[in-house]
Each structure stands twice: as structure tokens, then as C-alpha cells.
Symmetry: C2
């Protein structure tokens, strides 16, 4: 994409940022905000990624989720490699405007995670003891729906 | 709190990180991971915040949400000022172990946001046009449940 970087408003004070109706996202030092993608029907969290100004604007304009890949340092249309697109039905922003939620309907197999699973959050951390080097995760049973090696030449997410 | 910083394992490769059962969180350059708190009953996203190693370990050990405040540069037990505690029933970690979800039951009025609202995500960004300096947010109807000025001497979140 070669569109110009969109211009966003800047909030002049905390009250305007939190209680106002002007979109004034606070991109971090790397030009990013956090985005959480949730299933539009169930609210299940599917993945967490980042957007730069261009990715947010393209998501708004097209209704298809776009992100910025920190590892590849590039704009990334979700599903462009794998077919696991995300059709966006709602975007929400938080109180201090540095994080967004997108409510999405998955394309493809319904798997949002590059490992082939529906959600990236497929393991639990145990409760009841402090963390240690021996803390073990448990799988939730969210099994891969596709073989990542067959779909990706390299890591998408 | 004056507990020693907990020791976490480090994953030695991507496969172990993504498919293994060892908790090996990837804290960022500031020592933080992202945490999304969701309502345990409805999956509604309540807030997004950050945890350092100590906050994650205390959350695991106590079942009460702890965060790290970037603005105050301090460990923060959710609800210690306002009574809006978060009882944690599940913690999940994502594929590359740099983000967690906590499923919580809110204390107090049920408001997770420092503005008094249930969720920090109380405004929507419009779809159908690219971003501009004139983009207007819409409120979802998540009305404040308490008066933040009466509860906080200063900004908790």
C-alpha cells in the first residue's frame, strides 16, 4: 500500500481524550497501538496485535483487519497469505485511546492464530502459586485447524 | 510489596515457545507484557493494562489482579484505591508468550475503568471511511457507575 499516512487529531487534555468524541489515538514511540481481535458472535479473544496509523485507517475504511508486523516491519492485511481474513463489524477504543478492540468474523477455517488454532490464547497459566522456572502451562483443547507449514512460507503473525 | 523478582524460564526456540508447556513469558524492553482483563461470565473485555514479572507472579499466587502502572512506575493491585478488585479465575497466555488474558469477576460496582464505566472500551470508531482529524467517536451507553473524582485522589489506571 502506498497511501499517505492519515492525519489524526490530537487530544489537548485528559478530559478530552477520555470523555470526548474526537478520535485522537495515542500511538506509542514506535507509532503503534495495541489491537485485540475478538469473535463478533461470542466475544472470544482471538489474537492481540498492533496497528500503526495506516493499518488503523485501512481497517476503518475497508472493514478488513490490517495490522503492522513488528517482526517484519510491514503493514499486514490479515489473511493475505493464509486466507484467514477478519471482517470487522465494530471497532472500539479505550479510555486513554492507546488500545482498540475489533469485533471480527473470521474467514478460512476460522483459525486466527498462525499456529493453526482458533485463538492465540490456547494455553493456561496455573493459579495458586507464584511463578517459577518450573511453572507448567496447560493446553485448552483448541486444536490446530490447518498445518502452518503448508500455509506459510514464514511466520505471518 | 518487597518480594524478590520471580525467576521465569526462557524458551530456547520458537517451537518450544509456541508448542511447549513451559511458562516463558517474553517481557518487553521495559520488562512488561500486555494483559487483557475480560469478564469471566460474559467474555466482555473490561480493560487492557501491563504486568511486570512481579505483577504476573502475584496475580498467579493470589488470584487477585496485579498490574504495573507505566505512568506511576509502580506495582498496582487493582482495586486497592477504589475497591474495584478483580478476582482471577483463569489466566491464558498467547502463542508467542508476550500477552496474557485474565478472566475476572469484578468487585465494587463492577466498573473496571477509572472513568467509572464497566469497560474502558466505551466508545466506537466509525467504519466505512479512512481516518481523518474529524473522525468522531460514538459512546456505547456504558454509563459511569461511580464518580471518579470522589474515589481517586489521582488517576489509578
Amino acid at each position: 500500500m502506498t497511501e499517505p499516512t492519515p492525519a489524526f487529531a490530537r487530544a489537548t487534555d485528559a478530559h478530552e481524550l477520555e470523555e470526548g468524541t474526537v478520535l485522537a489515538p495515542r500511538f506509542d514511540a514506535n507509532g503503534l497501538i495495541t489491537c485485540v481481535a475478538v469473535d463478533a458472535a461470542t466475544n472470544e479473544i482471538l489474537m492481540l496485535a498492533h496497528m500503526n496509523a495506516e493499518a488503523l485507517s485501512l481497517t476503518m475504511a475497508t472493514g478488513e483487519a490490517h495490522y503492522y508486523s513488528r517482526s517484519r516491519k510491514a503493514l499486514w492485511k490479515k489473511g493475505e497469505t493464509s486466507g484467514h481474513t477478519q471482517k470487522v463489524s465494530e471497532i472500539r477504543i479505550d479510555c486513554d485511546q492507546d488500545a482498540v478492540i475489533i469485533k471480527v468474523t473470521m474467514g478460512g477455517t476460522g483459525a486466527a492464530c498462525h499456529t493453526g488454532r482458533r485463538s492465540c490464547f490456547y494455553r493456561t497459566i496455573p493459579l495458586g502459586a507464584p511463578a517459577s522456572a518450573d511453572t507448567k502451562l496447560a493446553f485448552t483443547g483448541d486444536e490446530p485447524r490447518f498445518d502452518p507449514k503448508a500455509v506459510y512460507g514464514k511466520h505471518e503473525h
